[in-house]
């Protein structure tokens, strides 16, 4: 694979908001590359600049060794599947798909053959003569894809293509999209706010926030090794722990002090030194939960706690376990065994949660917004931790003032 689409130091400001802030991306030929982020993060603006509907204030876009920054949309070998499909309502499915070739003034016979080929690819032969108003959401989606693909673009842009579909259909279309990708083999750029979609379809993902790229990587890299707390919190759920390195055990491990928790052993992949601030993310599924104290293991950190909430979800159960007054940790337990035979873990049960020292991940940096978090007391930044808001002020700035060499609290 080679890099063949470059965003070079792209910036764009609308009135007062900096929609895209010095973004550089290198996208390889033939990959499905997702741009993932919350609404307003600049992902759609980036896509519109690639399609030619917006001009960047600064920076260049290079496609296949030629600078396309100043080309109008109709001169770019890039086609878009729009969020609302934007099918022409007065044309049939066939006419919609043929539009691009008709504009290009191709011979009639060629247009007919190409359209037939596309109709076969998207399995819409039986609906070729219907108007967009007469077909379902999934069919509109497929028509929009065929209409864009028929021009054989170098890059296919998909702008939240599944947002208008219901969940079941979304999953099916996701599968169809990757089948179509296998068939045509061109680069797909997939813009979405849905981390599930991005994770399941992409070769690589760029996570964006506030107009900047926070991290680029494969779905597994982004999930397991998030670079910033924003990425960690946006992709899946996680528990954050802020603390300091209390001592470095050996080349690989260190102990960390987190206010309100026993001292914990952690894999020191960032090679931090004693006294350094550490920002740790541990995913809910990395915890084990049990009613009895697990057998001692030097690499396991065991924390006693009380179950606060249990949400049974069939394939897994979500527990919230409180430790002391400050901590509420989200734990997800996969049901790999038949569940009804065990003694269930219930609300108010005393439990032991444990995590393997290698399973925590030290974040490199805070996102801009999270810098305030540094000032706040240690607190799991899970999905719904607002219940403890009142307690926060009591231990403000404990991380910074705490005597890091002292005993665990």
């Amino acid at each position: 694979m080679e890099d063949f689409l470059w965003f070079k130091e792209i910036s764009k400001t609308f009135a007062t908001t900096r929609a895209v802030d010095n973004v550089s991306l290198a996208i390889q030929r033939g990959e499905i590359f997702s741009i993932l982020g919350p609404s307003g993060c600049g992902k759609t603006t980036l896509l519109r600049m690639l399609a030619g509907f917006e001009a960047p204030d600064s920076g260049r876009i290079i496609l296949d060794n030629s600078d396309i920054t100043d080309l109008p949309p109709n001169m770019r070998k890039v086609n878009t599947v729009f969020q609302n499909y934007a099918l022409f309502p007065h044309m049939t499915v066939r006419e919609n798909i043929a539009f691009g070739l008709k504009v290009a003034k191709r011979p009639k016979a060629e247009i007919r053959d190409e359209v037939d080929r596309m109709l076969t690819l998207i399995q819409m032969q039986d609906h070729a003569d219907k108007k967009p108003a007469q077909i379902s959401g999934g069919q509109k989606q497929r028509t929009a894809i065929a209409r864009a693909l028929i021009l054989k673009p170098s890059v296919l842009l998909l702008d939240e293509p599944l947002a208008a579909l219901d969940l079941k259909l979304r999953q099916r279309m996701l599968l169809e999209l990757s089948l179509i990708h296998d068939e045509v083999g061109i680069t797909f750029i997939y813009v979405t706010h849905d981390q599930g979609e991005a994770m399941s379809i992409s070769d690589r993902i760029a996570v964006m926030n506030n107009g900047r790229v926070e991290q680029i990587g494969t779905p597994a890299e982004i999930y397991e090794a998030p670079k910033s707390s924003f990425v960690a919190a946006f992709i899946g759920d996680t528990n954050f722990f802020d603390g300091r390195i209390s001592d470095v055990v050996d080349a690989e491990y260190c102990r960390i002090d987190v206010p309100g928790l026993p001292r914990m052993l952690c894999f020191n992949d960032k090679k931090l030194a004693k006294g350094d601030l550490v920002h740790l993310s541990i995913r809910p599924e990395k915890f084990q939960i049990a009613l009895e104290q697990p057998a001692a293991n030097p690499k396991y950190n065991v924390l006693p706690g009380v179950v606060e909430d249990v949400i049974y979800q069939g394939d897994h159960t979500r527990y919230w376990v409180s430790i002391g007054d400050d901590w509420r940790i989200s734990i997800s337990r996969q049901h790999t065994r038949f569940m009804l035979d065990e003694k269930p873990i219930q609300w108010r049960d005393q439990v032991f949660i444990s995590w393997f020292a290698d399973d925590g991940f030290m974040l490199e940096r805070y996102s801009e917004k999270d810098e305030e978090l540094l000032e706040m007391p240690p607190q799991s930044v899970g999905e719904n931790d607002d219940s403890d808001k009142d307690d926060e002020s009591t231990d403000s700035a404990q991380v910074d003032t705490n005597d890091t060499t002292g005993e665990p609290i």
């Binding site: 399609a51 030619g52 509907f53 109008p72 949309p73 109709n74 890039v78 086609n79 878009t80 729009f82 609302n84 934007a86 099918l87 022409f88 309502p89 007065h90 539009f99 691009g100 504009v103 290009a104 219907k130 108007k131 108003a133 007469q134 077909i135 379902s136 959401g137 999934g138 069919q139 209409r147 864009a148 021009l151 259909l169 099916r172």
Partner: protein, 292 residues
């Protein structure tokens, strides 16, 4: 009563007031005009007893075909020019910022605040041989001092376009405002230039508004009487003028009625034609249920 019959009577009672209105003020007068057309004229200006085909036959006046042709021609050209001017304006209004949109719409309807007649006479003043427009044209050497701007078909055309423009802009704007402009982006994304996108996506997208605007301009144009009377000369007479002449000068009501009946017919033909296209455009099969 069965539910369907009940619904039938329900619908009837709901439409009765408007039906009655149409019956009393439109259908009856039309029938009366047709009836008068079949009556002999009274030399003193009234209507004589008995029935006659004579008036209808006298429509084969050698002057009439030319006047009817001019009426249709002038109206058709007026409609074309008005739409050609109104479509870009409607596009512009639909795309611009809300405060600008309100301003332009306001400017569009401002002429309605002045009496129609006064506006026509104002045009007469502008186009008058001693008027401001001619002075400017002569000053710029665009016209010789002997050129006549007033009293010719072009003057009628100009003032008709001026009068009808708001009636075209408003329905076109209503349609353009509902138009999904991302379709234009889609067309450009697929390789179409701006013009191509405009003609193959925007124009079909405002089709219904276009038909309404067409009717709104064409029908009053065919029936116009004041404009050719005030700014037009002998060579720009339209049917409306002849009807007025028969009524007020000749005092021959049956002859005027016969012409009016012809005018009604002339107008009904495009009306039916438009309604048919519009119906076929509207009655596309109902959207399918969302099935996969």
């Amino acid at each position: 009563m069965t539910p369907t019959r009940r619904r039938f009577w329900g619908e009837c009672s709901l439409t009765a007031p408007s039906m009655l209105w149409l019956l009393v003020f439109f259908l009856l007068p039309t029938l009366i005009i047709l009836a008068i057309a079949l009556k002999p004229a009274d030399p003193s200006g009234g209507i004589a007893d008995g029935w006659t085909w004579h008036t209808l036959f006298s429509l084969r006046n050698p002057n009439y075909p030319e006047i009817i042709f001019r009426t249709v021609w002038l109206s058709a050209v007026t409609t074309t020019i008005t739409l050609a001017v109104a479509i870009p304006i409607a596009y512009y209004i639909a795309r611009c910022k809300p405060w600008k949109r309100d301003l332009v719409l306001f400017l569009t309807i401002i002429p309605f605040w002045t009496s129609f007649l006064i506006r026509i006479f104002a045009w007469k003043a502008v186009l008058h041989p001693d008027g401001i427009l001619k002075s400017i044209l002569v000053f710029c050497h665009l016209a010789s001092p002997g050129t006549l701007l007033l009293y010719r078909p072009e003057a009628v055309l100009l003032v008709m376009v001026y009068t009808e423009l708001p009636f075209a802009i408003l329905p076109l704007y209503a349609a353009a405002e509902k138009f999904d402009f991302s379709l234009i982006e889609a067309a450009m994304d697929l390789g179409a230039g701006r013009l191509r996108a405009f003609f193959s996506v925007f124009i079909p997208g405002i089709y219904n508004g276009l038909l309404s605007a067409c009717l709104m301009v064409l029908i009053p144009s065919i029936g116009s009487y004041v404009i050719p009377d005030v700014v037009g000369g002998i060579g720009s007479q339209m049917i409306g003028n002849v009807i007025a002449q028969r009524t007020f000068v000749d005092r021959n009501l049956p002859a005027a009625s016969a012409l009016a009946a012809v005018l009604t017919l002339v107008m009904i033909i495009p009306l039916i034609y438009f309604l048919r296209i519009k119906k076929s455009a509207d009655s596309g099969p109902t959207p399918a249920k969302e099935v996969v």
